[in-house]
Structure formats: C-alpha cells, structure tokens
C-alpha cells in the first residue's frame, strides 16, 4: 500500500532528489498494480485458458483430441468419469468433456460477438456522440437508453428470442438461396446471431451512460480547448484526445458485463429458446442434468459443466473487481 502511494504521487522533493524516479504512463501503472493481484492473475489465466480451449474446439476435434459435439455412442450411455471419458458420457453416449469444450466455444462466440457489437461499437460510439455533440442528439440517445433500461431485461430477452427465432431463421434461409451458400441454418448461426444481437441491444446502455458522463466533463478541459484552437477536426478530437481518456472506464465496464452476457446465453438456452440442439451449450447441459432424480443417479452430468460455469463466472467477477480497483485509484 505505502509503496504504491510513493510511486503514484510525484512529490516535489523527488524531482531534485538524486533518486531517479522513472516516468510511467497511467496504463503501465495500472498494469503493474494488476500484476500484483495474485487472485486476479489466477482468474485471468483461467479466462484465457477457457477462451483458448473454447475457440480451438473445432481444431481439437479435427486433430482428434476430442470427439465432435454430436458423436454418439448408444452402447456407452450415462457412464461415470473414466480414463477414456474424464467427464463421463451423457444419455446419448456423447463424451461430456468434448461437450463441455464445445459449449465453451458457444460461450466464447456469444461473449465476443456481443462485446464487440454492443459493448464496444454501440456503447462507445453512442456514448462519445452523446457526450460530445450534446443537444438533441444527446437527449435522443439517452432517452432511447432509458427505454431499454426500464424494460425487465431478462423477460424481454426471452420474449424477443422466443418470437423472433423463426423470422431470423427465415431470413437465413433466404440468404442461403440467394447466395447459394448452403448450411447456414443447419450450422445454428441464426441462433447465435439472434442471441448476440439481442444481448448487445440491451448491453450498451450502461457503458454509454458512463462514457457520456466522462466525456461531458472532459470536453470542458483545457487540452480539448487547445486541440480545438489549433484546428483539430472533430474526428481527431474524438478518437485521439477523448477516447484514450475513457479507455480505462471502457475496459472496466466491459469486464463487469462479461459474466452477465455469458450468463444470459446460458439462461436463454436453459429456457429452450437459445442455442438449439444438437449444438452444445452449458444452458442445455445444465437443464438436462438438473432433475433431482437424474442428478441423484448421474451427478457427473451436472457437476462438471456446473463447475466450469461457476469457475468462469467467478473468474469474470474477480477480474471485474480487480480492474475496478486498478483503474479507479480513489476506491483503493
């Protein structure tokens, strides 16, 4: 604690003193603080492993490390953990470990897609626009945000996914016949698309509000005035001067939203309106395994996916907490 305080505060004495104080950018300082947090580092390692394994699921199964997510073996159903199937097999004789890896891929796709569309593109552009332009643009964006924020989001997410699924599938089928590319509907892409889009639709409001409030105070500062005085175009002011100054907040709000996004996909699929079988998802695995009688006889069906999901959410929460600490020095 005390050592950090010395590093951060550039006291007037240190300038004359012979002790050389190395200059460090705020980002490097934050990174150093993050590296000192052991629990957070464990969480980050877990998240990175999860994303690497999840993203390389097709590769792993192509190489032959794990079977594909729908390789059934009806002679070998509902087996407990063994050397051959470390997580056991499910009621269709599919290897649970490979189902978990493929379900991780689903989580990876959904979180990355809605983070980029909703968390980054929508939230950042609308927040910047709202804060910097102001006036009726600001009012319009913020009122639309109010509407989204006042909806009971889980209920509406379920409603949209339940009602729009057939429309989106129909659009995908049209796209298939128009472009001649087959297998779009069969690949399950419309399901992923719909979930990611609806999640980003609800995911931008919080981030945009925070960014806007920061921009509101930043745009009154001298360095923005100076940039404007030397004739910098608006785009340069926005992206070179304002954006780097809110990058911290963007990172924190993105990390805090991760668990919610991953959780929403699991919940939607649990309801039966998210990712459709045979495409794997933690939501479907948890749903199939959570009957009390099933759980009593075949606890491995729920225990392994549940452990991975809880581990992932725990890591997301630890990461979000650590980043909040690191980037908002006042709260330390």
């Amino acid at each position: 604690m005390a050592r950090e305080a010395i590093e951060i505060a550039p006291s007037p004495i240190s300038e004359e003193s012979p002790v050389e104080q190395k200059a460090m950018s705020p980002t490097r300082l934050a990174l150093r603080r993050l590296l000192k947090k052991k629990i957070a580092m464990i969480a980050i390692v877990f998240i990175i492993m999860f994303y690497v394994v999840g993203a390389s699921a097709p590769l792993l199964s192509w190489v032959g490390v794990i079977p594909s997510y729908n390789d059934q073996n009806l002679d070998n159903t509902l087996q407990g953990p063994s050397w051959e199937h470390p997580f056991g097999t499910d009621f269709l004789g599919r290897d649970q470990l490979s189902r978990v890896v493929w379900a991780s891929q689903t989580t990876v796709i959904i979180t990355v897609a809605s983070l980029i569309t909703g968390g980054l593109i929508l939230a950042v552009s609308l927040g910047l626009l709202s804060g910097y332009v102001g006036g009726w643009v600001d009012s319009a964006i913020m009122r639309v945000g109010d509407i989204f924020a006042s909806l009971p989001s889980l209920l509406i997410l379920i409603l949209i996914n339940a009602t729009m699924k057939d429309q989106v599938r129909g659009l995908a089928a049209d796209l298939e016949s128009f472009t001649g590319i087959g297998g779009i509907v069969k690949s399950g892409a419309p399901d992923y698309f719909l979930i990611a889009i609806t999640l980003s639709l609800f995911g931008w409001v919080g981030g945009a509000r925070i960014i806007r409030s920061q921009i509101l105070s930043l745009r009154e500062t001298e360095f923005i005035l100076a940039a404007r005085a030397v004739g910098a175009p608006t785009s340069r002011i926005l992206f070179r001067h304002l954006l780097p100054n809110v990058a911290n907040i963007i990172i924190v709000s993105l990390s805090l939203g991760l668990a919610g996004i991953a959780g929403s996909e699991i919940v939607l699929t649990w309801f039966g309106i998210g990712i459709q079988p045979p495409h794997p998802s933690f939501g479907a695995m948890i749903f199939e395994a959570s009957g009390v009688r099933t759980l009593n006889v075949h606890p491995h069906l729920l225990a392994f996916p549940a452990a991975v999901v809880v581990g992932l959410f725990f890591s997301f929460n630890l990461l979000g907490d650590a980043l909040t600490d690191v980037f908002t020095p006042r709260a330390r």
Binding site: R143, S150, L151, P152, L155, L159, I286, A289, V292
Partner: protein, 335 residues
C-alpha cells in the same frame, strides 16, 4: 429541494408516459408477432376452423396490431382491465397475477431481511480488515457466491437437503397451508413462506443476495472511512466502536438505503429459476409459463408491471436521495 432539482424531476416525470408507451407497444407487438397460436390453446377440444375464427374474432385477434393495441390500452386505462388469460380459462389476468405477486413478495421480504442482516455486518467486517488477508478473502467469497446461478445451486440443494438427507420437502410451496391469515381476501390468505417447504428456495435466493449487500456495504464503508472527519473523530480519542457506529456506519448506510428502496420494488418481482425449479406459484413461474404458452395478456401485464414499477422507483430513489443527502443537486449544469 432547489429549483434545479425540481425541474429535473418534472422533466423526468414527463418522460414516464413516453417511455411506458414505447415499452408497451413493443412488448405488445412482439407478443403478437411470435410463432404459436394462443387461439389453438384456448380452443381446447374444438379443433375446427370455425371455432378458431370465432375465438379470434371474440378476442379481437383478427384486427391489425395497432388496432388491437388501442383496444387493449383503452381497457387498461379506462377500466383497469388487464385482459383475460388464454391459459387459465375464464380468469382475468388480474385475478391470477396479483396473488402470484403476493406469494413471490413473501419470499422476497424474508430474503431481504435475512440478507441485509447478514450482508451488512459482513461488509463492515471486510472493510475494517482492509489491508489484511481477511479482506480479499471475504471479497473473493462474496464474488464466489455471486457466481453460483440458482440454475445450479437449486438442483444441488434439492439433491442434498431433500433427497439424500430428507430434511426438507422438495417442493417450494406448502400443499396444505399451515399458516393462514383469514382477514386477507380470498386467494391471498396463505402465508406459504412460513413452512419447511420455503427453506430451500430461501437459501437459494439468499446466497447471491448476501454477497451483493456485503460488497456494497464494504465499498460504502471504505469510502466513508477515508473521510477527514473520521480521522478527526479518532484523533479526538473517541472509542473505535463509537467512531464506527456514529461516524462511519451512519454515513455509509445512506447510499445503501437507496438500494434498499430499489429492492423493495424487487419484492414484487419473482425469480424465474428458483420458482420454476421448486414449484412456487409466484410471478416468476407465471411469467415462465405465460411465455411458453403464448399467454399474450399475461405477458403484457407482467412486463408492464415490471416497467412501471422500475421507472417510478428510480424517480422515487432520486427524490429520497435528495431528501436524505442535501448535498446532491440534479440538473445543475456548469457552463
């Protein structure tokens, strides 16, 4: 309240009808656009086209969506008529929805009291131990509790407490009500939360909530402990217990109180998963069933109740906030 705050609140209140209009229309249209046909559910055994047409006309479903919306909203606003359920034949939505809210509210009230009384001391404890191993350990513990979705915790609770040990029943709502309050109107008299059945759902609902209160309390307490007047109080030689209760806690609980107001609104909301998994006939399970069964008016009523209470609650929180903390001024813009 100063004039800036007043005009800010007036502006917000003026937006309420607009927000509610958009929310209601979108929800209404979404329900109507979806696949599945409630007419077939309502028709029951009379499965011919003539019967379908008759029901469709009787419910006004043959008209365009905006006209249906107009008819529906007219009923809501002039007669307080929330419509008729498709799934529960011959029942009005309000006859079903309000008893369900009452049942959910019983659980939520117990959970709120329980989690506040555990979360606040835990949060203060964590804040007092800042800089020692106990602080990160307790935060990690809170975050861990928050990471266990009820989708996962309820099956395991049922497995161990109900099936393996046999201590508790597996259903979340008593079949025969032990505790009734006869002065309450019919449909509301059962206090189902006072039963052995309620224990598992209450545990499942409480675990993440304790963690949330604990984290908030810790953050607010730390904020106040850094204030100069706390240092002054300590310097004057006031005993630590008195500094904590008089100077720190009082001010730390101020922001917490607005969150409690928000969760009072949350009393009216049910939990989808806990209620569905344990079979509590509350509002969460009702919503679950309504979406599954395309029960248009029921979905509409649940979403709108949620939106109305949320919008009004956030305004009430703003007002209460300015009353308990006079330093806060809304609408004051520099420049």
């Amino acid at each position: 309240m100063d004039s800036g705050t007043t005009s800010y609140l007036v502006r917000r209140l003026m937006w309420v009808p607009v927000i509610l209009f958009v929310v209601s229309f979108v929800t209404f249209a979404l329900g109507r656009l979806g696949p599945g046909d409630p007419v077939r559910v309502a028709a029951g055994q009379f499965r011919d086209d003539e019967a379908f047409e008759r029901i469709r006309a009787a419910r006004g479903l043959d008209k365009p969506v905006y006209e249906q919306y107009y008819i529906y909203m007219e009923g809501v606003l002039t007669r307080m008529d929330l419509g008729e359920s498709f799934r529960y034949q011959d029942y009005d939505v309000s006859e079903i929805i309000f008893p369900a809210i009452w049942r959910s509210a019983q659980y939520n009230a117990v959970v709120l009291v329980l989690t506040l009384s555990m979360g606040i001391p835990l949060g203060v404890f964590a804040a007092r131990r800042q800089g020692t191993w106990a602080d990160p350990a307790s935060i990690s513990f809170f975050l861990f509790l928050q990471s266990i979705y009820s989708l996962i915790s309820v099956p395991f609770l049922l497995l161990f407490l109900a099936l393996k040990l046999g201590w508790l029943p597996a259903s979340g709502w008593p079949r025969d009500c032990n505790v009734t309050l006869d002065f309450l109107p019919q449909g509301y008299e059962c206090i189902g939360v006072l039963s052995a059945e309620a224990v598992i759902p209450i545990i499942a609902l409480s675990l993440p909530a304790v963690a949330i209160w604990g984290r908030y309390t810790r953050a607010f307490t730390l904020e106040v402990m850094r204030e100069d007047y706390v240092r002054t109080a300590r310097a004057k030689g006031i005993p630590e217990s008195k500094v904590m209760t008089r100077h720190v806690l009082r001010n730390a609980l101020l922001p917490l109180s607005t969150m409690i107001i928000f969760s009072l609104v949350g009393l009216l909301e049910g939990s989808f998963f806990v209620e569905t998994l344990t079979g509590i006939p509350g509002i969460g399970r009702l919503a679950f069933e309504a979406i599954g069964g395309r029960d248009y008016d029921m979905i509409m009523a649940i979403v709108m109740l949620g939106a109305v209470t949320f919008v009004l609650a956030s305004i009430v929180v703003d007002i209460v906030y300015t009353m308990i903390d006079p330093r806060i001024r809304y609408g004051a813009r520099s420049n």
